[in-house]
């Protein structure tokens, strides 16, 4: 029986977004007998095929966003628009944020023009939530689960790392089944992880928490429901969510609690668009931090033509990591750390990172060596700067009549130095194995988006507290990566899930004791 809540039912928790955060929160609350309605802008993904460009077309959020500063103007962010959100295309890398990175003020504190704050959660207090997240996602290489097997590309990365004296190359913790579990099969090395896993060996918010929530009898998923605004009552409590339904009609849904998990661009966008007489700068924005401190990680793609075939398209795309540079060392000339993460590309995508815009015989000579290619991502910690921010365009509106979001971002000098260093180390790695050529590629559109509704100890420093609860609106929660007060050097999804598990426990307690 499919659950359907009345739009006038003000006892429901409304969750905006069915990605890693929203889906996890939905499952936890509905499993505890709390009625949850999840509003998702996209549609369910009907069928996944092993065709990278076809799936890119089906999974991607193509609604207009404008990039400014160092971002690609027409496509600054690569996120998902579908049930499952960005987890439909994610790489499934699930490292924890290391201890030192919970206190970025200790190494970023002296950087100019930054807005560094520490996490308001103690590292030790947070570990049980990471543990729970790893169990629920079936993360390989943790808690007795075997690691994924090494493919050609990983063996090459590991060999190169050893050659240049690095000691921390490893398979990585991945939310991809190394053995069948959770009702999903083991990985068969399809090689199309980022296009959506066609057999669901990869955990997604759709195949796990949403599917589980559906079975509780307390959950409704309303897809093709685009949230425009959250309205509040006279007491300043979130009262209803305004959205456009699949037929293009404006709808209103009442709520007891509202949890926003629309990813770090649209979560602040909704709040900014929910301004009122009582909240003139946007809902939950008294301290002025909504949209600010946007972080996306320091990224670079380095590719190389190796002397003999690699066939990097065969098998799991991103399961090789090198952690030697995660621990910061000021002697390198910059603060903070970065890692290497293996990455593979289909032919068209490769041309976006290898001399993009090139043509002619010299170029096709390079492309004809496709099966000799190796590649890695330099992924580093991005210091928060208040000027990097999401705002509403003054005049441009999208197809729903909502202002188009503008994302402004400029690299910090520290990030530029870090990136150059990382690129040089990657080059060394490939050259140690006899690479014929190494290409330094551009920053891809941001796939890790964080910080725009950050948590803080004090209300003047952020948007929400250590449980993601708004300082200004007592029944409003931030439930996605917007909460991050710092980016760390790790892929964000495991942390997003762990935060959602912890937030769910808090909300359950608060609701049961009628404090919410």
């Amino acid at each position: 029986m499919i659950k359907k809540f009345s739009q006038d039912d003000d006892s429901v928790v409304v969750v905006v977004g069915s990605g890693a955060g929203g889906a996890t929160l939905s499952r936890e609350l509905s499993n505890a007998g709390i009625d949850v309605l999840c509003l998702e802008a996209g549609s369910p993904v009907e069928r996944i095929v092993t065709d990278a460009q076809e799936m890119f077309g089906r999974l991607t959020w193509f609604d207009r966003r404008i990039g400014s500063g160092d971002l690609i103007k027409d496509f600054p962010v690569w996120s998902g628009k579908n049930v499952g959100g960005t987890t439909m295309h994610w790489t499934a890398s699930t490292p924890r944020i290391p201890r030192a990175e919970f206190r970025p003020s200790r190494y970023f504190g002296d950087l100019k023009h930054c807005s560094i704050i520490d996490w308001p959660i103690a590292y030790d207090d947070f570990q049980p939530w990471y543990h729970k997240a790893e169990q629920q996602m079936g993360v390989s290489n943790t808690h007795g689960r075997p690691p994924l097997p090494a493919n050609n590309h990983y063996k090459l990365l590991e060999a190169g790392a050893r050659r240049i004296g690095l000691k921390q190359a490893h398979i990585g913790n991945m939310a991809i089944n190394s053995v069948a579990q959770g009702g999903r099969p083991a990985c068969i090395q399809l090689g199309f992880c980022v296009s959506g896993c066609a057999i669901n060996a990869k955990w997604t918010a759709a195949n796990t928490p949403i599917a589980q929530a559906m079975g509780t009898g307390h959950f409704e998923l309303r897809s093709e429901s685009f949230v425009l605004r959250i309205e509040h009552d006279k007491k300043g409590r979130a009262a209803q969510v305004v959205y456009v339904d699949a037929a293009g009609k404006l709808q209103k849904q009442k709520a007891r609690v509202v949890c926003v998990a629309a990813n770090s661009i649209d979560t602040p966008r909704i709040l900014l668009h929910s301004d009122s007489a009582q909240f003139p700068r946007g809902l939950a924005n008294r301290a002025g931090h909504v949209g600010k401190h946007y972080m996306k990680h320091v990224f670079s793609v380095v590719t190389a033509i190796m002397p003999k075939p690699v066939n990097f398209h065969r098998g799991t795309q991103n399961m090789g990591i090198v952690d030697d540079f995660v621990k910061g060392d000021r002697k390198r000339g910059f603060a903070g750390g970065f890692k290497f993460e293996m990455v593979s590309f289909d032919p068209e995508s490769l041309t976006k990172f290898v001399q993009p815009g090139s043509w002619g015989r010299d170029y096709t000579d390079i492309l004809s060596k496709y099966d000799h290619f190796a590649a890695l991502l330099v992924m580093g910690e991005d210091p928060s700067q208040s000027e990097n921010h999401v705002s509403l365009h003054a005049t441009e509106k999208d197809q729903y009549g909502m202002p188009v979001p503008v994302i402004h971002y400029r690299d910090h000098e520290n990030s530029k130095t870090m990136r150059r260093f990382g690129q040089q180390q990657a080059k060394r790695l490939y050259e140690s194995l006899g690479s014929e050529r190494v290409f330094i590629g551009p920053s891809p559109p941001a796939t890790h988006n964080m910080g725009t509704c950050r948590m803080a100890t004090k209300a003047e420093d952020g948007v929400c507290d250590a449980h993601g609860r708004s300082f200004d609106v007592p029944n409003l929660f931030i439930s996605d990566g917007s909460q991050f007060p710092s980016s760390g050097s790790s892929n964000p999804t495991l942390t997003i899930v762990a935060l959602a598990l912890r937030q769910a426990d808090y909300i359950k307690n608060q609701m049961q004791s009628r404090k919410l």
Partner: protein, 169 residues
């Protein structure tokens, strides 16, 4: 409104384009070819020029020539639906001949490339490069030449097809 992926990606690819200037409507009418169904078409000379252009943009000599004909076919479908794109293409092709002082198609390869280098930043060139990129690099015959093995699901993944067979490290 669902934005078509190909035109969206092409727009990103062309993000630093120099504006070409106003369209001469009489000139473009003279170039326009309309078939007996009233649809915009590309004549033989235009098609031959495009085939050579697409080859010079992404030369894969060991690929079957049909890969370039496939791009032309796709372009013909595209310009049928989009009048402004049709104008861009036919005027761009005419400009190749103008810059050559004769039919660009009859020049030596070196001279053909010389003309192309002159128009590298112009909308026609940028548009054709983006179009050729997304079509050729998703053609299974080009994949064969590049060494990309394509779709994997129906073959059971790479678990038993060499995912870890590297032997030269």
């Amino acid at each position: 409104m669902r934005i078509k992926r190909r035109s969206f990606l092409a727009a990103i690819f062309k993000s630093s384009v120099v504006l070409f200037g106003a369209v001469n409507s009489i000139y473009s009418q003279a170039l326009s070819k309309v078939d007996n169904k009233g649809e915009r078409t590309l004549d033989q000379h235009q098609q031959a020029t495009l085939e050579r252009l697409f080859f010079l943009l992404y030369p894969f000599p060991s690929a079957d020539k049909r890969v370039y004909l496939n791009v032309i076919k796709a372009l013909q479908e595209s310009v049928k639906r989009r009048p402004e794109k049709y104008q861009l293409v036919i005027q761009g092709l005419a400009r190749l001949d103008t810059l050559s002082g004769k039919s660009w198609f009859t020049l030596s390869e070196e001279d053909q490339l010389g003309v192309l280098k002159k128009i590298e930043k112009e909308p026609f060139f940028v548009s054709m490069l983006a179009f050729a990129n997304s079509h050729l690099l998703n053609d299974p015959e080009v994949w064969r030449v590049m060494g990309y093995e394509g779709s994997s699901l129906e073959k059971g993944g790479y678990k038993d097809r060499g995912f870890n067979d590297i032997d030269w490290l």
